[in-house]
């Protein structure tokens, strides 16, 4: 692979509000999603049979009735499913033995001629279990396991100076516990795929049309387990109806479809996970308990920060949310400590959900900061000014473009912060208490290694630009076209973008707000090398494939995006109901490549943060072990009526240290800090400090 140092790109299409290239296809229903793709043969439909115990063994599985049902073709279980070469991934290694690791785990797959028949077949499978005692409740006292690292590969604990001594010497100490609930990503398009297994010829054996955030990630996870070479697995995902992290890594339904497809003699297998099944099978955010201690001088200057996190993982596969990670770099304090401890439970496997770590961690941190501001009698924005670090507290590196205070000040101006009553419960409008709150936001700038792009000249001055990136609804189709146009110095209409296919050059996941940065860098590198090698008037058919060389300058800096979120909350004096009529986010994210699609990302993140603040909670019934609020009628997300005044803006800037486009990532920062801003506003409205999400009406009633 050729590596090319990408030179800074001058914006022409970048920075303009190009409408979504796939927009018309989507709103007209013509964009095919995973199971809508026409297959070569009529597919068999798969339906999953899930365990009804949280821990134990399948002692008997009787498929006779199911198999006798007209239209049912086969039933796969641990006794007859194809064997995997590698079972170390406890989430994906399904149907390999009789063990049950959580309630809802896949214990059989029914294949039938129609979806309805498959579902009925699944209902007819009789499974008996040898149940064992299980543990499914997260508590501080059972969260004792110390993981080797936290997601993605961060230190589990950090400890600088003497936190206890600093707290003992502090004028003011905030020592509180903050809790966030289990949350589910619930993208609009449920997880779904069509799998075809054909080992008759050369080349692709397993073909998946999938709903995923990373086609190459699916290949690299599944291929070795199935005993295939990466080149024998092809994954396509041209359009994906949202992921929010839940499609960032393959989950067990993808393995179920692959295993099933291996048994059908080449006939495709179509599998769509139901909304209810998603609450067990496709990832979620762990609940978190944060014990937060802030020690400060009486004026609000921080002396010590201590953040102890208690959360959970699954016994069958480890996932450790990096909840304290933003605490390590957010504010100055000489003595600081963070830790993560996990309860290892017999539960479904947690995973990424928009801003893993930052979202629950910053709820705790920014609510604690608000408590400190109240305790010190300091305006919350002044408190943050006081504690602005000169260099990154975690690494000691200089920040590049840390503009948190600019975001706070711009937001304060636009939101109308000045004149805000200092005390709580100071404003009312009829039956509503009214308050305002603020919180900081941050998200790390990440560029993933392992991306390359291919540029090929076509007839008529047109160019094919190809990379295995995925548009999960973010606007990647459009934004990558804009980047390619600027990198080749042509009009966007001259670019024919190819993405969403693992047969294209390698690309990393649409996650960690790193997609555009990582894919875009590769496109810029390949385009610039292409021009270097083939000039401005290349012959049709010549091509260049390259990846971006690592930028040594970027290593010298701490690279993060920042933001400030302002909320107005109204709390009903009679019912405790909370409404948020105004929410504003101001962000520093480098160059915004497409204001139209970027605005959607920010508004989406803010809305999701608002939704988490007020509504979202997956209730795990520890007696059974599963989430019982397992549909969108009982797992509440914000409706239109709840989202009445959300606005976002961004600072005019570019950051060429971060990427050759001058951009950083924008997908996740909108959710960070938002629930704290809302919580702080409810405190300001009512004088009641709620330290646990969601902020439902009952918490504001005496």
């Amino acid at each position: 692979m050729t590596e090319q140092a990408a030179a800074p790109l001058q914006p022409r299409s970048m920075g303009t509000s190009t409408i979504r290239l796939d927009g018309r296809l989507k709103v007209s229903g013509a964009a095919p999603y995973a199971v809508e793709h026409p297959a070569d043969a009529p597919p068999l439909h798969a339906w999953l049979v899930q365990s009804t115990v949280a821990r134990g063994r399948v002692s008997a599985l009787d498929a006779q009735q199911a198999l006798a049902h007209p239209g049912v073709v086969s039933v796969l279980d641990h006794t007859n499913a194809p064997r995997l070469e590698d079972t170390s991934n406890g989430e994906l290694a399904i149907l390999q033995d009789a063990r049950v690791g959580f309630r809802g785990q896949i214990v059989a797959v029914v294949l039938a001629e129609t979806l309805e028949t498959a579902r009925e077949g699944a209902a007819l499978v009789r499974v008996t279990y040898q149940a064992e005692e299980h543990a499914a409740e997260l508590r501080v006292d059972n969260a004792t396991y110390r993981p080797d690292s936290v997601n993605p590969d961060m230190d589990t604990d950090t400890d600088e100076g003497d936190v206890e001594a600093a707290l003992a010497g502090a004028d003011v100490v905030v020592d509180e516990t903050y809790r966030t609930p289990y949350e589910h990503n619930s993208p609009m398009e449920p997880h779904a795929l069509v799998a075809t297994w054909d080992d008759a010829g050369e080349g692709t054996v397993l073909d998946l049309v999938d709903s995923t955030q990373g086609v190459h990630g699916v290949v690299s996870a599944l291929a070795p387990m199935l005993g295939l070479e990466p080149g024998q697995v092809r994954v396509r995902a041209p359009h994906v109806g949202g992921g929010f992290g839940s499609k960032g890594e393959p989950h067990s339904h993808e393995m179920a479809a692959a295993l099933a497809a291996r048994t059908t003699g080449g006939r495709p297998v179509s599998l769509a996970v139901t909304r209810q099944q998603m609450f067990a099978l496709t990832g979620y955010r762990t609940a978190t308990i944060s014990r937060f201690r802030l020690g400060a001088r009486s004026d609000g200057t921080l002396l010590a920060i201590d953040h102890q996190v208690f959360e959970q993982t699954s016994a069958i596969r480890e996932y450790a949310e990096q909840t304290a990670s933003p605490t390590r770099m957010m504010y100055a304090a000489p003595d600081r400590r963070t830790s993560h401890r996990l309860a290892v439970l017999d539960v479904a496997v947690p995973s990424w959900m928009r801003a893993p770590g930052e979202m629950p961690g910053m709820f705790a941190h920014e609510t604690a900061m608000d408590e400190l501001a109240v305790a010190c009698g300091v305006d919350p924005i002044v408190l943050r000014e006081l504690n602005e670090p000169a260099t990154d507290p975690e690494t000691g590196k200089p920040f590049n473009n840390r503009r948190l205070l600019d975001c706070l000040h711009r937001g304060a101006q636009r939101f109308g912060w000045s004149g805000r009553p200092a005390g709580a419960r100071a404003s009312a409008d009829g039956e509503w208490w009214v308050g305002t709150g603020v919180a900081s936001a941050t998200y790390p700038m990440m560029v993933q290694p392992g991306n390359s792009a291919r540029v090929r000249s076509l007839d008529g001055g047109r160019y094919s630009v190809a990379i295995g990136a995925v548009d999960i609804g973010t606007g990647a189709w459009t934004v990558l076209t804009q980047i390619a146009a600027d990198a080749l110095d042509v009009d966007p209409a001259a670019i024919e973008l190819e993405i969403g296919d693992s047969s294209l050059p390698a690309a990393t996941v649409a996650g960690g707000s790193s997609g555009t940065s990582s894919w875009g860098g590769a496109i810029v590198a390949a385009s610039q090398l292409f021009r270097n090698d083939h000039g401005d008037s290349p012959d049709p058919g010549v091509e260049t494939t390259a990846s971006a060389a690592e930028d040594p300058v970027a290593e010298e800096y701490a690279l993060h995006s920042f933001g400030a979120v302002f909320a107005e909350a109204r709390v009903h004096r009679y019912t405790g109901e909370v409404r948020v009529p105004r929410l504003l986010g101001v962000y520093s994210v480098g160059r915004v490549i497409n204001p139209l699609t970027a605005r959607s990302q920010f508004l989406g993140g803010l809305t999701m943060g608002l939704s988490a603040a007020l509504f979202e909670e997956s209730y795990r019934d520890a007696r059974f072990g599963h989430i019982v609020t397992q549909d969108l009628a009982t797992y509440h997300v914000a409706t239109h009526a709840d989202v009445t005044g959300v606005e976002a803006e961004w600072l005019d800037e570019e950051d060429y240290v971060a990427t050759p486009m001058g951009s950083r990532g924008i997908g996740e920062i909108g959710i960070v800090g938002t629930s704290a801003a809302v919580a702080n506003a409810t405190y300001h409205a009512t004088g009641l400090r709620v330290r646990e999400l969601p902020l439902t009406a009952d918490r504001f009633l005496p």
Binding site: G71, T117, T575, R579, D621, V628, Q630, D698
Partner: protein
């Protein structure tokens, strides 16, 4: 797939005959609840008798003691009923209750009778893998000691602690509506206050209806309290959520003294809860916030709560005060 028979009834009497003759038969109207249940695998009828095309979709005035009543056909869609001028003028609580429920799409589809006969949204009732006495008598109640935020605070039994989900039923209960029922032995009328049951040891029975009974209409009697009525619903999100608690209230005042008052509560019990003790305490009293709070308190004597649903006691008390004081002040919108 599981086969079931689907029949479109020609008239109400034959629909009743069809369902009465098959223990595993169900009426299908708007389908907004029953079809979910079929997909969730929590009910498996052998016969569906579609009554949605029966001509039970008229809204007609009738002479009633003290004025003009309104007879609402069982198939009148929730959207149409909410928008009906006579309902808005003379029974505004009914219109408000309907608009406080579900979503626009569901209200277009759902029928008047179907709304009353919708079943609980208790998460365990809807999850075929957990015990539930209402779904499978004798298996136990998972909501006791489980997800209890929505659980009843009045009239629950050890066998069932769930609440009735309908908003409309609460308004109809407050305003002394009655349902017209056609059964195998003819037509009869059941007051709304007597239609739904408390769970006792038979939580599988939501109502007093016999298998095969078909609600053909709802009758709204006129009253001064109905004309001055409202519906107040507290819920987590601003739309598309079942009530945490709700209040339907109607008021007739003589100066500031209560001549007549009707109060029914939703979200607190297995049936819409007519707050007769509170009503009795308020009649003849000056209508003040304190008086309503005290009356509600009286009604709530004997409420049973857990950590998760204790909030319902102050919430229903406050919401009752809110509804009644707004009515007294002539404010009925929020």
């Amino acid at each position: 797939m599981r086969e079931l028979e689907y029949v479109r009834a020609d008239d109400a009497a034959s629909a009743v005959a069809l369902v009465s003759g098959e223990p595993e038969a169900r009426f299908l109207a708007g389908g907004t609840n029953l079809v979910d249940h079929l997909k969730l695998g929590i009910t498996a009828p052998r016969l569906l008798v579609d009554v949605s095309r029966l001509p039970l979709d008229a809204v007609e005035e009738y002479d009633a003691p003290g004025g003009t009543g309104l007879r609402i056909g069982a198939n009148v869609r929730n959207s149409d009923l909410a928008a009906h001028p006579a309902v808005r003028a003379s029974w505004p609580a009914v219109s408000r209750a309907l608009l406080a429920g579900a979503s626009g799409q569901i209200r277009h589809q759902a029928t008047t009778a179907g709304n009353l006969l919708q079943r609980t949204r208790c998460v365990y009732f809807q999850d075929a893998t957990t015990p539930c006495n209402k779904r499978e008598p004798g298996t136990g109640c998972s909501a006791v000691g489980g997800y209890a935020r929505y659980n009843a605070v009045l009239g629950a039994s050890p066998d069932c602690v769930t609440v009735h989900p309908s908003d409309l039923a609460v308004a109809l209960t407050a305003l002394d509506a009655q349902v017209v029922v056609l059964g195998v032995s003819g037509e009869r009328r059941i007051p709304m206050t007597g239609l739904h049951r408390l769970p006792g040891d038979r939580p599988d029975l939501d109502t007093v209806l016999e298998h095969g009974d078909l609600i053909t209409a709802v009758e709204l009697p006129p009253s001064a309290a109905a004309r001055r009525s409202t519906y107040q619903k507290a819920r987590d999100r601003a739309s598309y959520a079942f009530a945490l608690v709700s209040v339907a209230a109607g008021l007739e005042l003589d100066g500031d003294v209560v001549r007549d008052v009707r109060i029914a509560w939703g979200g607190v019990a297995h049936r819409p809860w007519r707050a007769t003790r509170a009503e009795d305490a308020l009649r003849g009293q000056q209508l003040t916030e304190e008086a309503v709070l005290a009356a509600a308190e009286l009604e709530l004597e004997g409420a049973t709560t857990t950590d998760q649903n204790a909030y319902k006691v102050p919430m229903i008390r406050n919401t009752t005060a809110l509804a009644c004081t707004r009515l007294a002040a002539g404010e009925v919108s929020r």
